[in-house]
Subunit: 534 residues, 2 copies
């Protein structure tokens, strides 16, 4: 038999999982159980930590990790079961073992009850909101409505490069409440337009990439700002809301509250973004020169060298031509407009109508399907949506069980006592840690699901102002994606064409991270003080 080289074995999937499995096993077998941390909580924690570690260190598919974790927990009966007699949550014991609540032998429902718990996440309405978000985004893409909006923006603002940048930013801010999947919005709608603009300006990754790089970065970071601005700006945002509502009685971070808190700091960031990026990309002097050239009357239509000939009317004319070629709004676009407006109205008024945000999104999809704006095939072939439904459903089960078993509160308590011992200011420390931990994640949603509960628990234990902490964690959930090119599918798509080198991407990311932190801790805090949030 041929010998397999060591390097191949070390790169194989089981080998890359070894460190994660080791860490999990250490927690599983070596953590002492106590009143605070039950054996069930330890097991769930072990599987959870192991999953997250594998998520960061390996390229194994997230769905496979989650499924493995759930199967392991099911096999070992490591879920919290409801005691039928008292209605209290308890460990799912094996048949005949003493029930921890009553001392009687545990009435055995077999492994079935435990297994049934592992499927609970799939009926979580948050998971289905994200699922619905993917499909609304698909509709905006399929009907070309998103493309039209972007082209209109360019027609209006496209005379100067800064105008173009602001057009991209405003497209994002306008689309964000309607397209609750930031990847669908950025990757599916805005990115194709940004890429088309860059190419039209004669900027390619190999030839005169500066203008293209600037526009790509604007598109990427505008997407994250808009994602943080609205409750419906990113699919995972409602998870923060759900956890905060569960933890604090008075806190209800609904659509309007979310927007009220974010509108001032997010708009400041959005307005400053193109200016900062122009400076970071080294475009400032060039464009000044161009502005002067333009005022001098050099209004040449030829588009050959972006750096010297820009700005001109070419790109505006291009947008006009494209819009003319698209013709007037199609029936499907009108239908989609109607449905999206209706959804927006229902989301904004949900505190009065008591309609679940997920139900609203599903109703929107239903209307689109019945009117024939999109077909069921568009939905069933949207594999990203189904994939996300699967891994997020499983992840939500685990996070939920982690919380039920008290492990999340235990960790939060540990963090809070550390903060107390070191005498650190709790809210800034928690918020900044939350921001920086995103660096380890390849999915903003995964980061939020994994950490928001623990950090809110820690803040709760330290007596942090509920609204203040919730606001910071809510807004940082999306903003923190600025640091890397793998934080979300959208960032990967803007990075892919190659206008910006990896080192430059990370450098600019950290500049912006610093800027966001400063803005939210000064202007943001000031605004929330005015609102009476702390």
């Amino acid at each position: 038999m041929q010998r397999i080289p060591w390097s191949t074995i070390l790169k194989s999937q089981p080998a890359t999982l070894l460190p994660s499995v080791t860490i999990g096993a250490l927690i599983w077998f070596c953590t002492p159980a106590s009143d605070e941390l039950t054996p069930t909580a330890i097991r769930i924690l072990a599987v959870f930590v192991s999953c997250i570690f594998a998520l960061i260190t390996t390229s194994v598919d997230i769905s496979l990790l989650v499924l493995t974790g759930l199967a392991l927990l099911s096999l070992t009966h490591s879920f919290q079961c409801e005691d039928k007699a008292t209605g209290l949550l308890t460990e799912c014991r094996l048949c005949g073992e003493p029930n921890p609540l009553t001392g009687d032998p545990y009435k055995c429902h077999g492994a079935k009850e435990s297994f049934h718990h592992s499927l609970e996440g799939f009926s979580s309405s948050v998971v289905w909101l994200i699922f619905a978000a993917f499909h609304l985004g698909k509709a905006v893409e399929v009907t070309q409505l998103g493309r039209r909006v972007s082209l209109l923006m360019i027609k209006m603002f496209g005379k100067r490069i800064m105008g173009l940048a602001y057009a991209i930013v405003f497209s994002e801010l306008l689309l964000a409440p309607f397209v609750p999947s930031n990847t669908a919005r950025g990757g599916g709608i805005v990115h194709p337009v940004v890429h088309a603009i860059a190419t039209t300006l004669g900027s390619t990754p190999t030839h005169d990439p500066k203008v293209g790089a600037f526009l790509m970065l604007v598109g990427n970071h505008a997407n994250l700002i808009s994602a943080s601005m609205y409750l419906t700006g990113m699919a995972a945002n409602p998870i923060v809301l759900a956890k905060a509502t569960q933890l604090y009685e008075g806190v209800n971070f609904d659509f309007l509250t979310w927007l009220t808190g974010s509108i001032v700091p997010a708009l400041v960031c959005a307005l400053a973004l193109p200016v900062i990026l122009r400076w970071s990309c080294g475009l400032s002097s060039d464009s000044k020169q161009r502005d002067e050239e333009e005022q001098g009357g050099s209004n040449g239509g030829a588009i050959s060298n972006a750096t010297t000939k820009f700005p001109n009317d070419g790109i505006v004319k291009h947008a006009e031509t494209e819009l003319e070629r698209m013709g007037s709004m199609s029936g499907k676009e009108w239908q989609l407009c109607l449905v999206l407006l209706l959804c927006l109205c229902l989301w904004v008024t949900s505190s009065y109508t008591k309609l679940d945000a997920t139900l609203v999104a599903l109703l929107g999809i239903l209307m689109l399907l019945h009117m024939g704006t999109m077909t069921w095939k568009d939905i069933s072939k949207n594999t990203n949506a189904w994939d996300t439904l699967f891994w997020l459903g499983g992840f939500v089960t685990m996070a939920h069980q982690l919380s039920d078993a008290g492990a999340s509160a235990f960790l939060g308590h540990k963090i809070s006592s550390l903060i107390e011992q070191l005498g650190l200011p709790p809210v800034p420390f928690l918020a900044v840690s939350y921001f920086l931990t995103t660096f380890m994640f390849s999915s903003l949603s995964a980061h939020i699901v994994a950490f928001v509960g623990t950090f809110l628990d820690a803040g709760h234990a330290l007596g942090a102002q509920p609204m203040l902490l919730t606001a910071l964690l809510a807004y940082f959930g999306a903003l923190s994606g600025c640091m890397t090119n793998y934080s979300t599918g959208m960032a990967a798509m803007y990075y892919a064409p190659g206008y910006v080198s990896r080192s430059k991407w990370f450098l600019i990311g950290f500049q912006l991270a610093l800027f966001y932190l400063v803005v939210y801790f000064t202007i943001g805090m000031g605004w929330w003080r005015l609102l009476g949030w702390w």
Copy 2:
């Protein structure tokens, strides 16, 4: 504005739904509420009947119908809610309305609780078993293990046309316990082989179609017999088990019980099937002639005219060549064999290990993924599986709520009193009605989900022997698909090449239906009597 012709309007999706909506509205608004049938039960019934009617009469996608039904029920709060104080089920009232159990104003959880109920079906383990079944079937297809099994069968039995037919039947019977999706098994594994055999024999729909027609019909009906023979033979079979266990304390139709009851009548049907079909297809005299020819020594290898030159060694040689070309079993095939055997062992022993059948299937998939036998992409691109997960999850919610609200029991009671009034024998009447109603359905699973509960309830009210009724309904669930070419995706695939005309397909279907009914009511009942089931 151009006038749209009436014919177009009448064929449009909303127009075809009009009769279904009318029926639903009639039930919703005109049924008098009583103690037996609460307003909630009437609403759920209206939506359910309307969905089923639309399923039969329109071509609207089943997922869209289910989603519409669920949204309507959510919007009107038509679900059964659990009263937190007493733990009893009650209607979900609007805020402030009197609670039907206590008379106090209903403590309002908004529409959210009601909406949450509509997602319950998605954490049903039956739904996830079907989902897992699709993927196991995919693995059998992807690794080519299924193809190898069929080719081996042909190599062993393929000398005569009846030998080929029995090879197809035994392939199905052997694969059925391992590939719990009958469509994956029939459509994905066996059908391609059957089609290849027919073509190799020189039989096409236009030229000498008799042999091809015979083989296609054998493949189709062998699939249904094997689906009815094992609990894991068809994805929806466990639904019968779940409902029966819920209704009758002593009835546990697990893998072994199911097989014990079915083995005698199903094997009789399987053995008789090729003989009946040879007669129905008018092949009997031809093949006799051929057999004689063969004995006369005309062993020509040329395959040009199937009817005159068959049988010969050509097809056996073809199988041998194909098997040689496939080479020895690949690593992936061995891995799959191992996993399937393990799954089979765990399914067979599940009453001892207390492992959920779904967990076993998921563990199998997990092993395949970790060994690299299949990739997550194979799973996420298997849109049929996701689609089924969606509509079946929604359908299960509705069927479950129908049962919780008492509507299923009410209907069962109505049927049973009708049977009593007319003095009909309950078990045969229920079983035959159940068999024939499949005619209206385009999915065996949908038929089972829709009707098995009601028919078991009716039998329960009439005091029918539990095991007898359960057995008949369990086995007829798959067998009844023989009548039409649209009863399951598998049948549609065998019909599609066009070897058999639609009228011939239906005629032969009814002959077989009659045959199955006779066999199960004579040999089957006799066997179950021996087993002490009645």
